[in-house]
Structure formats: C-alpha cells, structure tokens
C-alpha cells in the first residue's frame, strides 16, 4: 500500500533517511520523540515535501504520478494543520461532497452530531479536541483505502480516544485497508498496531511486530543485591533508581523463569522509546 525506499530529506540541521512499508490490511505505527522525523516522514508519504532521494510509492505508483482519483483513496489527519477556522462544518460539507465521489453528506453530518460537533459553529471556536475529532471523521468519511494519521488522538479525553480507536478498528474490518498512525500515547498504538517503526534522529531504529515488543521485552526492577546476582547476558540497558536498578531486557521470559523473586514489568512502547532514545 505504501513503500518508502531510502527516502532522504535534508534540512539545515536535520536529515530524514528512512525506508518503510505498510502492507495491505495492516495497521502500522510510528513512534519517536518530538523532532525525530515522524511528521517529515508523513509529509513525504503525502507528497507535501520534495524528497532529496529515494522513492515514495502509494498504491503501487510513484507519489508524483498520483491522480486526483488516487488521492481520494487517502484519508489524512495532520498534527499541526486542519480546516480554515472561519468556516463551519456546514460550509465544508458541500466542498467535501464535491471532492470525494464516495462522500455521504447525511452520514457525515450525523456522525459529527453524534460526536458533539456543532455544525453551524465556526471551527476556530472549537476546542483542540473537537478540531481533531472533525479531522478524524473527515478522514473516515469517504471510504478511503489508506489512513495516514499523525497524532490523531492528541488533545482527546480518554473516552473519546477509546471511541476513535474503536472507529479505526471498525474501519479495518473492511479488507485491503491500511492505516499509518503516530501517537504520543503509546497505549493507543499498542492496542491497534500490527507492527511498529521507531524513528530517532531521522532514522528507523526499530521495526518489530507489536506482539514481539510487548511479549519479549520487559523492565526488571531489581534491588542492589538482586542486581549483583543477576545474569546480565540479556540486559540491554540499566538505569540506577532509588531502590536499585531498572534493567531493560529483550528476553523477559528468561528472567521470569530464573528469577521469580524479582519484579519484572511487561514491555511497552514507552520502554522501547526510552531505551533507544537513550542510545
């Protein structure tokens, strides 16, 4: 569905160099710290920036060859960009109807009302959560084959976030659809993504199935005496803490079986992010 091959984008003090692939029927997550290159990667996928090298393919076509019809197959939420605030949802409905052949006015309006979005209020008067909800509903409104969602749940409360994630899971019930999603809320990604890319300083540093990350990685919380007798063969990194040491392992099962008295927390995306970001 999406393929980035050796894509390079050079800025003054930052360089994105990455390859990634999003197969059909899969939800792929991107994690990384602020400024790691997530949004630049999204913009490269959407053709909003010119790359300095490599190729970006969507639906088997080079991004430069995408037609307007192809673009109808993409639904997008961008982290820092949205609808003009001087118009209302009511104003935008005919625009979207004219742009997307598979857009249902009635369904879109009823979904907006269901999500508590006022139809006749200027969008600039919306809260940031409401603006985000509107973008997500727009992305889902026209039966797109690919959703590109940069921080779609930012600014939303936990109830709405769950509702949005349910909507995304519902969306994925139709075959041959894909989602590329980034979020600072790692639990959102853990619940929905099939695989995860981690990006750091413009480079992909991890690509793993979510199940592998959650199943194999773990955080060992050892006292000083426990730490001294610990087999450190599978310890990736350790950090000193008040009680002793926090140790990251990629062989959680080994320590669970051999050190039953030590507290071992399950792996999480936050753990991976922390581990790789600290080098």
């Amino acid at each position: 569905m999406v393929k980035l091959e050796n894509v390079k984008k050079q800025y003054k003090d930052f360089c994105l160099e990455c390859s990634l692939e999003i197969p059909k029927g899969q939800v792929t997550g991107i994690i990384g710290r602020n400024g790691a290159g997530k949004t630049t990667a999204f913009k490269a996928i959407l053709g909003l920036i010119k790359t300095d090298g490599g190729t970006v393919e969507l639906f088997g076509k080079n991004i430069r060859d995408l037609t307007v019809k192809d673009r109808e197959r993409i639904g997008t939420v961008l982290a820092d960009s949205g609808f003009c605030g001087y118009l209302t949802i009511k104003d935008y409905v005919p625009m979207l109807a004219a742009m997307y052949s598979d857009f249902s006015k009635e369904k879109f309006v009823s979904e907006c009302e269901r999500m508590g979005l006022p139809i006749k209020k200027k969008i600039k008067e919306f809260s940031s959560g409401m603006k985000r909800k509107l973008l997500i509903l727009t992305a889902l409104s026209h039966n797109a084959d690919l959703l590109v969602l940069d921080e779609p749940t930012a600014g939303l409360d936990v109830v709405v976030r769950d509702e949005i994630l349910e909507m995304l899971q519902e969306y994925m019930k139709t075959e041959e659809r894909s989602i590329l999603i980034s979020s600072h809320i790692s639990s959102d990604l853990e619940g929905i993504c099939d695989d995860i890319y981690m990006i750091d300083k413009g480079k992909i540093v991890v690509h793993e199935d979510t199940d592998v990350i959650l199943g194999r990685y773990g955080l060992i919380k050892a006292t000083r005496s426990q730490y001294e007798r610990l087999d450190k063969a599978y310890i990736i990194d350790s950090f000193e803490a008040d009680f002793g040491y926090n140790c990251i392992t990629n062989q959680k099962q080994f320590y669970l079986e051999n050190y039953p008295d030590i507290v071992i927390e399950n792996g999480s995306l936050d753990l991976i992010l922390r581990m790789f970001s600290q080098g």
């Binding site: 961008l78 960009s81 979207l96 004219a98």
Partner: protein, 213 residues
C-alpha cells in the same frame, strides 16, 4: 476545483458583509456626486482584492498542508484562485454597471455625462482589476503576509512606468491622431494584458509546484 470554489464562495458569504457595506456606502456617495463609474470601479476593485484574501484564509493556522492532502492538485488550486477572482470581479462589475446605467438613465438624467466615456472607463477599470488579481496571486503565494510590501514596490514601479507613458503620451498625441484608432490601441492593450496574465499564472503554478508545505 469545484470543491475549492464552493469553499471560497462560502468564505465570501461569511466574510463579505463588511465589504458589502463599504461598497454600498461608497456607491451611494459616488452616485450623489454623479460619479457612477467610480462606484463601478471601486466595487470591482474591492471584490477583486477580497478574492486574494481567500489565500490568506487558506494559510490561516497552517491550513495549507491539510488542504493539499485533499484530492486537489497544486495547479488546480492556482487555476481556482484565478477563476474565482475573475468571476466575482466580473459579476460585481456587471451588476454595478447595470445598476449605475439604470440609475443614470432614470434618476440623474441631466447630469450623467457621456455614456461611452463612462463605459470605456469602467471597462478599463475591469481590465486593471484583472491585472491586479493576476499579479497579486503569485505575490501572495510567494511572499504570504509580506506580499503587501512587495505589491507596494511593484505599484511604485508601475506608477513610474505609467507616468513615463503619460508624459510620452502628451508628446505622442499627434502620432495617435494621425494613425492608430482607439480600437487598435485597445486591442494591443488587451493582447499585452492577456500575455501578462498568462505569465503571472505560469509563475503562480511554478511557485506552488516548488513550494513545500
């Protein structure tokens, strides 16, 4: 492109009320002064300038990147801006021209001057508004909020050019009277105008094609 036109007409509807009041006040004042052609010119100019502000609204709160994730091409965006600008300027011109002709014919019957002169003035004004829209679109796309300053520089250059032309015109009256008819002059001016408009359009497309969002 249809979707973009709908968006811009909605913006005109939402944001155009102040513009409408300005035009009405100026029109009433100018009609009182027997200057119906000034009312036509002012209204056309104001509406033409308003069409350019839709670019500012598109840029509002970094809206451009999202706009270009919708199924539109950059060239369509530029075309839409030109079409929208010319369309609303022309429609305003026609409405105002019709209203003023009607007013001159029925109300100020004794002071309405030469109809052909007034019409020529209004046509010239419409051409000027077309020119201003054409040149302002690339400047807006290229310089965004700094486009006003750039336009002032351009206006000074054009004014100097016009002053030179006018001075030359004084010297060239005999030349005009001797050979060329006004029809030929108008045709040449129209060709030059269309050529310039095309150049500005191509420049706008180039700006958008190379612009990163």
């Amino acid at each position: 492109m249809k979707g973009l036109l709908i968006k811009d007409f909605n913006l005109l509807k939402k944001r155009g009320s102040i513009l409408l009041v300005c035009i009405l006040v100026f029109t009433v004042y100018q009609l009182g002064e027997f200057n119906s052609e000034a009312a036509v010119g002012f209204a056309t100019l104001m509406v033409g300038i308003f069409s350019l502000t839709t670019i500012t609204y598109d840029e509002y709160e970094n809206g451009m990147p999202f706009l270009f994730t919708l199924p539109i091409r950059k060239v369509d965006y530029v075309r839409e801006k030109y079409i929208f600008g010319f369309l609303i300027a022309t429609v305003t011109w026609i409405i105002m021209e019709a209203a003023c002709i009607f007013f001159d014919a029925l109300v100020w019957t004794e002071n309405n001057g030469n109809f052909e002169d007034k019409l020529a003035f209004c046509v010239g004004y419409l051409a000027l508004v077309y020119f201003l829209i054409s040149i302002q679109i690339p400047l807006k796309l290229k310089f965004a909020e700094r486009s006003g300053i750039v336009m002032m520089v351009v206006a000074v250059i054009i004014s100097i050019f016009c002053a030179i032309v006018l001075i030359e015109f004084e010297y060239g009256v005999s030349f005009m009277e001797s050979g060329l008819s006004w029809g030929v002059v108008a045709a040449v001016a129209a060709v030059v105008l269309f050529a310039l408009m095309f150049v500005f359009y191509r420049w706008s497309v180039r700006i958008m094609e190379t612009r990163e969002l």
